[in-house]
Amino acid sequence: MIPELGQVALIGALLIALIMGTLPLIGASSGNQRLMKIGQTGAIAQFLLILTSFVILTWAFIVQDFSVEYVARNSNYQLPMQYRFSAVWGSHEGSLLLWELILCMWTFAVALFSKNLPDDFRARTLAVLGWVSAGFLLFVIFTSNPFGRLIPQAADGLDLNPLLQDPGLIIHPPMLYMGYVGFSVSFAFAVAALLGQQVTRDWVRWSRPWTHVAWAFLTLGIALGSWWAYYELGWGGWWFWDPVENASFMPWIVGTALIHSQAVTEKRGTFRNWTLILAITTFSLCLLGTFLVRSGVLTSVHAFASDPTRGVFILTYLAVVVGGSLLLFAIRAPAMVQGSNFAGVSRETLLLINNLLLVVMAAMVLTGTLYPLLLDALDAGKISVGPPYFGTLFALLLVPIAVLLPLGFYSRWQEDSLGRLLRELLVPGIAALIGGLATAFLLPKAGSWGIAGVAGAFWIMTSCLRYYRQRVSAGRGRRPSRGETGMILAHFGVGLFLIGASLTNAVSSEKHLRMVAGDSFELAGYNFVFEGTRGVRGPNYVADEGEFIVYKAGKRVTSLYPQKRRYANGQVMTEAALDPGLTRDLYVGLGEALNDQGTAWAVRLYHKPFIRFIWIGALLMMAGGFLAATDRRYRRSVTARSENPVADANLAEATA
């Protein structure tokens, strides 16, 4: 009975979403306050209903109700309690429900924190979110109902995919979805602005904190995914350019461009159409990502439970949402070039270049991801595009981004002189030179990419520190705003990421070898001694566990216990063991037993220098995003005058 209530809640939420998508819009165009207010009430009711249905599904997992097909497919009696929670989103139906829950959370948050927006604008924004939600609920109810019954009830369930039985996977999908779905808010603001022909600077200011928060969550989600792939897949890599990873990376790149473009539109009034297009594109790429993962169009290690009939539905949804909003853009976007003019050397120009580079990067990833599909569609053969394509182009595009990055925040709006910029950047330039030379001497294996990466990182990080110090002294006791601090923090994170990514790729050592108990092998100055294996039993698996003692210069560093696990459903999983450190990770993966007695094993040893910098850098970027979102000026009410009333009046005129 209870699972049916979950389904009723879904249908109720669909009805509310449809009401949210229509009545407030009518209210906004006719000026009817009561109709407009329905948006807020609907957002709250919708959230509570979806929360109810989510709790019911979670409950079915906790009490192991195997009469629910989804529960029977994704858990069994042996599944430990903490994974019964994450099993809720362990497969297709539940992860869609999580998506919808998070969408309702964001909608609820918009209803809650938008008191200072004009009523009609707020009503339109909530209506757009209502439409997004309605389409998604139709998808859930008609193609992916998580509450379907299994008759007769199963005696025991199958199992949660062992790859997903991992603490990292408890938090990775919710964080990723917080980011994905969070961009629906920037999208809804953009579409609402187009609908109401209110493409003003205020619109951008309202939308910015939401974009920052969504972007920060997406950053965290991607970082967690990369960290998970690193320790769970057992191959020592941190990014595989797999279609599903690309699906999350594309909205991140365009979202990054959006953040920068919004800064220009808010401060100077220019790039307005560009900001609109980026807001629409970012969310479209989030939907495209969902489509790619869920439809089975691309083959990927992540594409669990893909199904072409669902693909048809998502594609239709994609066509309506994206096609519709882009058409709206074509019809309604402000026609005239607006905002203040700017010179060739100015912050506007540099941010325009930033946007172009990021968009080219996103296009590069999109092309590489869809190229196999294109060839297959033309019947020109099955191929896969791999790291050589992506890695090379990504690194090449990172060079101009890294070089120009500090110029972006040092430069002044409207007009600046190249000479002044170069003088400012003399110290960072020297730091970059020192960093590069030090790398060349200390790490002879680093090669040109390793040296370039460290030099670039020093260039960026020194600029960040110097710029921040200048702002502090310019403020005469007043600290720089949170927006500015967040920006510096995020860019400093880019520097740390560069160090991690370039050095890990350049100076990692790895060895795949056959080891018998008692064997030892020296890798990058560390001596790995294999002590043999023994059998261990987990809650729902049995495993061979190897013991490796690692010595450096005769002194014991650590012991590592990699496992080869066999889960109840027969799947075999490698559980790598690693010893993390700020400057290096030691990593051991246990492969197959190479003889019948189980004394000889295929072993993979890795030494990964500076790999932690990748995730520390990403965490700083995330922190920067969150910090910037809490800047005081976003909390100003709409009645407060902007600094430049004349320019705003011009803009409003141009928009009308």
């Binding site: 199958l158 994609l318 096609g323 569609a377 027969g570």
Partner: protein, 178 residues
């Protein structure tokens, strides 16, 4: 105006590509196992419960059979078991078991508890032969024709639908052939 329509046009092109991709997604998942149409891999393994009796791949060739890879630790195998039992009882085809990475005692206890539909059970304790068959998890089943060629492979549980749609037509064809 054209400039403003550009995003829509790009999106349309992308949409068409994705729609075509969706149409061909059906057959894409059917990347055939490299073993289909090939002779089954060679092996010599002991019979389960009779370690001194060895059976080799060529002794099985002659009449078609279904090779069912199973293990006592495998939950899905238990779900599948009644279907395999039904198939064996129907006399449609010989059913040979390949006991995969299991303990001898566990496997025997499992058969005693759930029934033994297998004409013969081969013990692949190390899992080496299963690797030759491309097995990475249990259950998997291989349909082998009278010449010892693998003609069909089922990953996961064999269902009544699979028997009806994949196994019965092939067996009928072999029976009709002289």
């Amino acid at each position: 105006m054209i400039g403003r329509l550009l995003p829509v046009i790009i999106f349309l092109a992308l949409g068409i590509l994705l729609a075509v991709g969706l149409k061909i997604a059906d057959h894409k998942t059917e990347i055939p196992s490299p073993l289909i149409g090939k002779q089954m891999p060679e092996f010599t393994l002991p019979v389960l419960g009779q370690p001194e009796v060895m059976v080799a791949h060529d002794e099985l060739i002659g009449t078609p059979f279904l090779l069912n890879v199973w293990a006592s630790w495998c939950v899905t195998c238990r779900v599948e078991h009644p279907v395999i039992e039904e198939l064996a009882k129907s006399g449609l085809i010989r059913v040979v078991g390949l006991n995969y990475r299991d303990e001898e005692a566990d496997a025997q206890a499992w058969l005693a508890r759930f029934g033994n539909p297998y004409e013969l059970n081969i013990a692949d304790i190390s899992g080496r032969t299963a690797i030759d068959f491309g097995v990475y998890a249990a259950p998997e089943s291989f349909l082998v024709d009278p010449n010892g060629t693998i003609v069909f492979k089922q990953i996961g549980a064999v269902t009544p639908e699979i028997i009806k749609e994949e196994i019965v037509p092939r067996v009928m064809e072999w029976r009709r052939a002289p």
